[in-house]
Symmetry: D2
Subunit: 341 residues, 4 copies
């Protein structure tokens, strides 16, 4: 059966596996103190054009959001996010579990707009009573967003300026960062992310790794005793080589970029076909996720041959669904899907 259900259905890019195999019997220090992790950090610093970036590897996206947000916030602070933010909707309350509120702002195509953010912060500090309120202590955005949309460089810069003005860090969830950076239309490159964000993570799990996300603190702002905090959250891998070797490989010879490009290219072929065949898009997304409004009858028919995601009910007769391509999507599969449309 064809699968466009998500971008983490396959294992890892073969080059990553090969390196795991090649280095397998080397006796290495644990908890990230191995040379492959060091090498990966160096390459990520270079790719970010940020020599003082401090890099750590964690296992998955929710874990990364939870650890990093908790570590950065003061106890009386919460994190500002768009209403569609992954931390607010599909992480089982992992942020609140650490004691911190998510301060919701209405989204626009999945994005947190600079205007909405500025209005929120202005209003908060105008309120005479804010001693009884949760202080905004961080801003969370995802790029690409949960709707596959992207910030422009100007938007990131503006968000960064607002955060700077209020002295709170800007945090970017890059679970699918590779697919955002690879978009032909984006003007945002990895050094821009590193420049405008105080911290962010480069997603591995959804972009060709078995597991692993690379957290990057860009401004000399790593929380004190961060490794202990990671341990305290149960998130410190004994075999730090596992994400280390994978990220070292992803950032060798442009593999991460290449994987991103492939998925976006595959999505582009599929998008064009949807357009040509007159399908209705729920949202315009330039990355690897396509949101289509299907008639329910057609949905049932298609489901027999293709796996894709239910997104939400549109009306009685229509449903929003998502087709995702990935680093592992074969062009032949895209062609087969197109033939079925």
């Amino acid at each position: 059966m064809l699968s466009f259900v998500n971008d983490y259905s396959e294992g890892a890019h073969e080059k990553l596996l090969q390196r795991l195999v090649e280095t397998n019997r080397e006796s290495l220090d644990g908890y990230g103190a191995d040379p492959y992790s060091e090498s990966a950090k160096k390459k990520i610093r270079a790719a970010c054009a940020c020599s003082r970036a401090d890099v750590y590897f964690l296992s998955g996206g929710t874990q990364t959001n939870q650890v990093v947000i908790d570590a950065m916030l003061d106890k009386y602070e919460g994190v500002v996010a768009a209403s569609t933010g992954h931390i607010h909707t599909h992480e089982a309350g992992a942020v609140e579990y650490t004691g911190h509120k998510i301060l919701e702002i209405p989204h626009q195509n999945g994005k947190l707009t600079p205007e909405a953010l500025e209005n929120y912060l202005k209003a908060f500090y105008r309120d005479e009573n804010h001693e009884h309120m949760v202080f905004p202590g961080m801003v969370y955005i995802s790029h690409p967003t949960e709707y596959g949309t992207l910030y422009t460089k100007a938007e990131l810069q503006r968000l960064s300026e607002i955060c700077g003005k209020y002295a709170i860090p800007l945090y970017l969830d890059g679970a699918r960062l590779g697919y955002g950076l690879a978009c032909p239309d984006t003007d945002v490159a990895l050094p821009d992310v590193a420049e405008f964000c105080d911290l962010f993570y480069i997603g591995g799990t959804k972009v060709g790794a078995l597991c692993g996300e690379a957290v990057v603190f860009t401004k000399g702002n790593t929380p004190g005793h961060f490794v202990t905090l990671v341990k305290q959250h149960g998130a410190l891998l004994a075999k730090g080589r596992l994400p280390g070797i994978q990220f070292d490989t992803l950032f060798t010879d442009g593999l991460y970029r290449e994987l991103g490009r492939h998925a976006v290219h595959m999505a582009g072929i599929l998008r064009k076909a949807f357009v040509e065949k007159g399908y209705t898009f729920y949202i315009q997304s330039p990355t690897n996720q396509l949101f289509i409004i299907l008639e329910n009858k057609q949905l049932v028919r298609l489901k027999e041959k293709v796996k894709f995601s239910f997104w939400e009910n549109y009306d009685e007769d229509h449903t929003v669904v998502r087709f995702a391509t990935s680093w592992a999507t074969k062009e032949s599969a895209v062609r087969e899907l197109i033939a079925l449309l």
Copy 2:
């Protein structure tokens, strides 16, 4: 200076102080095991017409919400509340501090409507993915609401039915319950609250006590080892006599009802004056809080002689303000204020 700034500016009704004085040298067991606490519980059970009600005394509203919500929720659950709910806006994240998310629903005049609740719960359980979401484990309403509005008996019954259908408890925050029950137009009496809610609290701090809220579990549903949970939250008073004697007095000879009526009567006189003088109401509230849209110039003038609360900016030239009466408001003060309008 006149003060209509809130309903907790004075100490306690004199009868409460008098009883504290009279019983002062009695040697009593601590932590709520004294006979006055027992007597108060008995009277509250009678006033609720709920013989199996289990009653506990805590110090303040935020503390009560925090302890009770945390104690009732399973670890994977959150609490559903209107966007204007006090727990969501002005309790400094006390609920999230305990690890639980607040699941926000848009309000209607400060209320959580049965329709909105039902739609929310339906949608949650229709979602295929809810394993990654916070489960709704409780519904929070306040009565009167933060806008001074009231639920009807039919609305409470409907909310109760929906909660029953989804097997989650309905919790009513009664910080100002006395002012709600005393409204001439309400059809909700204390036994109705006890019937339709699985738990609620009767506010003392804002209705004539120095401190103290009475939590009532109405369905044999007190969480196991609740006293230990209260202690764990730092909320167990050594001298349980302090709230016990006060509530015992409040529920003797109808004092609680009388204090509520007085505040509502005072608000009625003031409301009539605002109407007659052509003031614009921000919201129609039948209880002890009046929300008025003032021209900013007038606001400045009035502020010199009267204390009242800033609520929110209305537009560039207008501000929403709140005038609150209380058990302690003197009719002469209301007359003075009216003369200033």
Copy 3:
């Protein structure tokens, strides 16, 4: 029936009640912003001979310990305490509830000795592996201890020096501080406590107040947004006047000292009688708590006429019990008890 069961069985000293009554109808700002709270803080600063002391009022001991320890600790830190420390034994895990470990050190007569503390800290920082351990972030002592024993000035100074060396604050739980300061044999006065401790609290609940503890930060070290943190823990009293007026009265004309002295004087009479009648002391305590080893038969007999506390089983035939005097103990009651011995 005679009661020596504890020091919080009665209400409050009459002067406190009288002031509550006298000020009752004054319309005051909430949350501690009233002039009585201000006045109380001023008097406490003076009594501590510490002009920059920052003072806050909370309701009870466990709450105070929980809020203050959580507010002072970094997320990766725990609090060092003697194995007998109240936070470690009888506060239902209130500190752990906030996410922080208690790092236990064996006690000596209820005290944390400077030697034991220094050895612990040395060993911790010698350990190569301490990235995987909870960092000691604060030292907790109680004075008097849970066994009624007292630190000497030299011991406090030494503890303070060790804490200073490791840059962690020394926190003193003064639930019964009044009874410690009033001891004829102690060389520790309130200004010493303020000098050697980075923070401490002056207990009200056990020394003549209805409720209330005064937290004192002595080194310009109040945690940022402390009021919000207090609110977040559900510990902010709307009517801050309640503890404010009580502490203002306790620190007027030496009342706090006088109440302490009375209890210690009563304990002295009782101690002398126990000695004369050949009773065995479990521990030598100079304050208001006396720990006696009773034969079980005698215990049963005495229990019919006097209330006192079970402490622990001593052996099959003997039990350790506690007799506590307080600000409210009458000399006639002490005489009656002595007649029964």
Copy 4:
């Protein structure tokens, strides 16, 4: 350089890597819903001779302890552990981070003895005051312990009976379970663990896997919505295939047993050599960890050629060190080390 520093320095057994490679391009459902995870669970149930065992895969030991202990405990409960328990010493307070206290009992050779446990529980329930204490809600043991020692079948049975009597679950941390089960002298087999423990985990990270621990609930006692709880803790792997395939391979053709035996055999050769050469053992450990008291001079000399672990200072001139063998230890390396002794 030779390394006996721990048992997680190498990658994974080659058969595991091979299966990861072979299955790599299969499109599988995420979050543990893949057929390899299913197959692994089936094989584990068989190996445990426990048909109703419910199995879940997590990434590492601290994470597993944190998630499982938090999920099993009621909010007012703590977990009983030996003073040497890993959760109590080297997990950075991960259990306390979830709000639960660890109730420490002195260890005996790293073990929690049935007598000590029973005395503790008896004393707790005899205490009149336990409403203000943390309730024991679970018993934690590790097997092998942190000192490499093992429980006998009779001891496990006795611990199980005591837990049953007090209606609290017995939890076994099996980070190194493979090395315990493979000991020639043990009478404890995997079905015994499943019979006597209410839950336990089978360690993968230290016994031949890249990562992964298999949690087994043996009595139909899986906490409700456990997957959501795992997600809430940030511990749910998107690619559940990663631990699934590894455990499926470990439990095929007795590989897990074989890996355990190898390490124990290597340790046996080394132990014999230490004995013959007159070295002093700090503790008698029958598994893959050997604790030796070295003269400091010798330690320095040996360190130049071999990696091993500092354990603790013994006296001024001696140090306790640990040599660990593993599934990956080569006999030639053991011979080289012996030659150096």
